[in-house]
Structures are given as C-alpha cells and as structure tokens.
Amino acid sequence: MKRIMFLIVLATAYAFAAEPKIKVVTSLSDLAILTKAIGGERLEVEALVRGSQNPHYIEVKPSYMLKLKSANLFVAVGMQLELWAQQIIDGSRNPNLIIIDCSKNVKKLEVPTGKVDAGMGDVHPQGNPHYWLDPENVRVILDEILQHLVKLSPADAEYFRANVAEFTKRLDAKRAEWSALMAPLKGLKLVTYHSSFSYFAERYGLAVVGYVEPKPGIPPSPSHTAELIRLMRSSGVKIVGVEQYFEEKTPQQIANTAGARLVRLCTSVGGREGTDDYFKLIDYNIRAIVSAAKDS
C-alpha cells in the first residue's frame, strides 16, 4: 500500500514538475525550422504547410484549426501570402493565440504602386512575400520570433538568445560560402515560373528577366509563352527555374525551344529531397543554379 502511495505521489510530482512546452504552429516549414532553431526542445513546433505545397493555395481544413486551438503562437510569413490563414485562426476558437508576422521589419521588394486589382493577377499589395529565400532576411525573422518567445517565456530568454547566436554564427559562415559560390554568376539571367526567387536573385546579383506565368498566379498562355521564348533568345537566358510545386510540361517546352535548361528549384524546407533544413534548402538551390550555369 505504501509503495502504491509512493508511486502516486511520485507520478503527481513529475506531472507538476514537467512544465508544458510552448506550442508554436507556423504556416511554412521554413518558419518551423527557424523557430525550432531558437526554441530547441523547449518548444513544440509544427508547420501547417508541407514544403511540397504551394503556400498561396492551402485548403482550409478543420485539422489545421485543431492545431491552432492549443497553440500559443502562430508564426506567419505575412504580406498576404497566407490569405487562407484567417479562417483557420477564426476556426481555432483560441482567444489567446498570438500571431507573429515575420515580414514586419523585412525590406520589401516589388511593392506595387497605385491601385491593385485582379487584372494584375494574384499580386500581393504589400510586396513580394518570398523574402525568406534571402539568407540575410533570416536574421530579421529570427529576431521577430525571438522577441515574442522571450515575452512568452522570460525565464528561457537566455537559452533562446544563445540558440539564436549559435544559429546566426552558422548562418554567417554559410552566407560567406554561398556568396563565394554565387559570385561568378553575378548578372546571370534566368526565368522562373513564379516570382518566388526575387529576394534570392537580388542577394546574389542574378537577373530574373521573365516568368512562365504571365502574371502572378495566372497559368501560362500560348502568346505569353511565345513572347517569353523570344525574350529568352534575345537576352541569352539559359536557365528556366521551376519551383517544386509547379508542373514541368510548359517550362520544359519553353526551355527546349529557347535552348535553355530546366532546373528544379525549391522554395521551402522539405519541398524536395535533400532540403531538410534551411541550410540544405539554400545549398540545394545554389548547387542547382551553379550546376546549370556551368552546363549551359
């Protein structure tokens, strides 16, 4: 009997001693990886969108609402990339959910001027939201998430900061490596399916001269395709980059006709094999572009 009592007391003490982890749900897998880098084992982190999915078009599923119901934080890219998120947030019925918009302090590209309407395609009124593909912006993202985590759990502040410092150190080393690899390609012209690589291209001095889509989110048309091929020929474009979630048929035809090479790029962690973390994701894209530039 005494032994049973002892076990019950022990189990109760353990249950009280094990503090519940902060639960973070992110929209993209990239943000999940970065949040994990800050919070380590003290956070429970989950992403809604898989790396292989197009983050612009995500179905509003009750299972996503369930994930947010018990979450403390929802980390989003912002800039209206996750237009679907508000319904999931509302459906979660979680009045205490804190929403982090990582784009707050990002230097934004391609911010449209004047009136924005559907005639411009699925244009984002606040600018191009694919900023996480510029490694320099990772610092801004980490800082934004860190601030909120520290507020939520001040006792863990030093632990979080130390993790950020360690991650940033590693990032700096990789940034130097990536810059060295990309330096010879400065001015390289390429075409991508969607404007996902604008920040990446600006960082490494690449010139994205056109898109397979005639306008953001609009499927390619024959006239646009013909125009793009003419442009590629006249500008000497030898690379057509296609994000992991787009079909290959049209870009392959464009590449074949224009005498270019199709390269499968990846916008998110886990979107293709060998992109399990942020470093591997950028490694993957740089390797793909360097290799295609060498061969063309």
Binding site: K61, S63, N94, I218, Y245
Partner: protein, 381 residues
C-alpha cells in the same frame, strides 16, 4: 504669406482626406460579387411521343453580393444578397448573420441571424461552390430549392477528441417558418403542406443539430463524417411534426495542386405525421409516414483547369413513398485562369414516377458561366 497659408491649409486638407480615405478603406467590409449565367435545354416540355430538345434558353441564374467584415476582435458579420434573374425579381437577403468567434465560455461559437443551417454537408454551401449545376433530387424534395435557410440562433462547440480528430457539435433553434419542401403532387416549389405555410399566427420553432467529425486519413486524404437531425411542425393547423435525420460523408484526396478527387454523399430519412382526412366523428385521421432519399457524387480534377464528375440521385417524396425520382448527372468544369471565371457543362437525366401515371424521363443539358470578383472566402473543406 497668404499663398503659403493656403498651401498649408490645402496640404492639411489633402492629408486629412487621405487619412480619412485610408481609414475608410481599412474599415470598409470586403465586398464580393458572384454571377451565374445559364444556357439550358431539356426535352421534358412536350408529350413523350413528341420528344425534342427545347430551344436553349439563356438565363441569368443568380447575382450574389457578399459583404463580410469583422465587427470587433471577437465577432464577424456576413451578409449575402441575391437576385435571381435579370428582370424585376426582388433582391433577397440570402443570409445575414453575426458570428461570435472567440471569448465565450467553453469556446462556444454563436451565430445569430438568417443563415443556411448546418444540416448535412451541402446545405451550407452556395451553388457556385458545388461541382454540379443542379441540386440533388433528395435535397430538392425534402429541403426545397432554397434549403434550410431560416432565422435563428446557432451554437457550436468543439468536442475534445485528441490531437488528430476534429469533432464539432452544432445546435440551432430556428424560426421554423421558411423550411419549404417540394411536394411533387402539387407541382409547386415549397407549396405543399410544409412549414412555408405561415397563415397560422402561432409560432412553432424548429430545431436542428449536426455532429461532424473530420479525420485526416493520410498525408493527402481527409474524411468528414456527419450526422444531422431536424424537427419542426410541418402543418401548423393540425400541429403535425416532421423529423429528418441525415448522414453525410465527404472524402477528398489532393496529392498536388493539379489533381484532386472528391467523393461525397448524403442520405436523408424523413418521418412525419400526415393528416388523411377525418373519420365519421369528424376527428382527424393521422398516419405516421416515412420516406428517404440519397445522392452520391464524385468529382475528379485531372489538371490545372479541368474537372469531371458524376452524380447519382434517388429519392422518394416527403409525403409519399410512391412518388419517386431517380437520376444521374455528368458534369465537366473548366476554370481557364483561376476560379474567378468558370464554365461548367452538365447533362442530367431524371426519371419521375407517380402513382397511376407513366414514368417520365427528362434530359437536360446545361452550360453555366460564372465569374467572381472580390475576396469571397473559400468554403472550408
């Protein structure tokens, strides 16, 4: 000096205007418009021996305006106005309700207003989001063309079912006046002995409820199961009650942006008391009566712009098991750019059986075009 004052004043005015314009655009509700047009022909307008497809008729099916906004951090409001036809048909309030989303005990959601009730799966969906062009026969007959769309109050609660299974229970108290049914014997829509008959001044509420369970069954596949019930008075003079039970399922498999498969079905069971005249003492003869109906459909998206699907319907009448209808439809959807513009083509065959009359089969071919403007939110799953 005067000029500089004028410039300062003008600047202040311009700045003030732009702030006001900004504030206005920030606080304006989202406004969306969805229009549906139809080109249709059928062979049911003449005697069977003279069967021929009618001259295709071009109709303005519906013009819907959605006005949606948050009222405050805890609640939002949704208003849907609809007008059928391009003539002098009235503009109707299809739905107008406020939903209290957060901050209530037990994480309750409360909805108040006029709305499509959560009874089954299809009832809450507007026709533009269906894969097909015509309402399933069972829902036409038992719920009427407008569905269960009534004034009321709804409360829903999430039932704890672990980290994977989402379970929601919804209960409604409805005014109970506008639930119409299609009585095939009267050849009118909602004109049979139903709750649409409001000549009685007495108030009879209707009650409805639905339990839904959503289960992700694989990385790319999700299953939703639902059980619903609805009860109310269908004959206000004799105070005769009806009860509907409904089971529904929807499975969706979507491995990538260019491929998806939806399988969905609902079965509705009707039980009601019906008056069968009076006996020799003048007392009403009551009869308990049951009937049912169901539909099943599948829809496959096989590339970015095309979908193809089929539906099978079978139903009895709310008032007779001998009044039957069954049919099938095949449909193709073409979304040339995005879902902002769509063409849908449907062929439907419906066979109606009435006691003492020959079975009538009608074929209908419909081509629909619809466009949408604005940020009308997608229907969840």
């Amino acid at each position: 000096m005067k000029t500089s004052h004028a410039i300062v004043l003008l600047s202040c005015f311009v700045a003030g205007s732009s702030v006001s314009a900004h504030a206005q655009s920030v606080f304006n509700p989202d406004i969306s418009i969805i229009s549906r047009f139809r080109f249709e022909s059928n062979d049911g307008q003449k005697l069977p021996e003279e069967r021929a497809f009618s001259k295709p008729e071009f109709t303005f099916e519906e013009f819907e305006v959605a006005i949606q906004s948050y009222l405050n951090p805890y609640a939002r409001a949704d208003v849907f106005l609809a007008k059928g036809g391009a003539g002098e048909e009235p503009i109707e309030i299809e739905e107008a309700y406020a939903t209290f989303l957060k901050g209530l005990p037990l994480d309750l959601n409360i909805r108040i207003g006029k709305y499509l009730t959560e009874f089954g799966k299809l009832n809450t969906m507007h026709p533009h989001s269906w894969s097909f062009l015509s309402k399933p026969l069972s829902l036409q007959r038992f719920l009427g063309e407008e569905g269960i769309n009534d004034l009321g109050i709804s409360a829903s609660i999430l039932i704890p079912a672990g980290d994977v299974v989402y379970a929601k229970l919804t209960a409604d108290v409805l005014r109970g006046h506008t639930i119409g049914t299609l009585d095939p014997t009267s050849h009118t829509q909602g004109g049979g002995v139903g709750m649409i008959d409001t000549a009685s001044s007495e108030v009879f509420y209707a009650n409805s409820g639905r339990l839904m369970v959503f289960v992700p069954v694989s990385e790319n596949g999700d299953l939703e199961l639902g059980v619903s019930g609805l009860t109310g008075i269908h004959d206000p003079y004799a105070r005769l009650r009806f009860t509907y039970a409904n089971i529904d399922f929807k499975y969706k498999w979507k491995p990538n942006a260019y491929t998806s498969l939806v399988l969905q079905g609902e079965a509705l069971f009707n039980h009601r008391k019906i008056s069968r005249g009076t006996d020799i003492r003048g007392r009403t003869i009551l009869q308990s009566f049951s009937s049912q109906g169901f539909y099943l459909y599948g829809n496959l998206q096989f590339n970015k712009v095309f979908t193809v699907g089929g539906r099978f319907d079978w139903t009895q009448s709310p008032y007779s098991t001998h009044e039957k209808a069954q049919g099938g439809a095949v449909f193709v959807g073409f979304y040339p750019v995005e879902e902002t513009a769509a063409f849908r083509l449907q062929y439907e065959h419906v066979r109606t059986t009435s006691p003492g009359a020959a079975t009538i089969g009608v074929n209908t071919i419909s081509l629909q075009f619809m466009f949408s403007m604005g940020p009308h939110k997608a229907h969840p799953f």
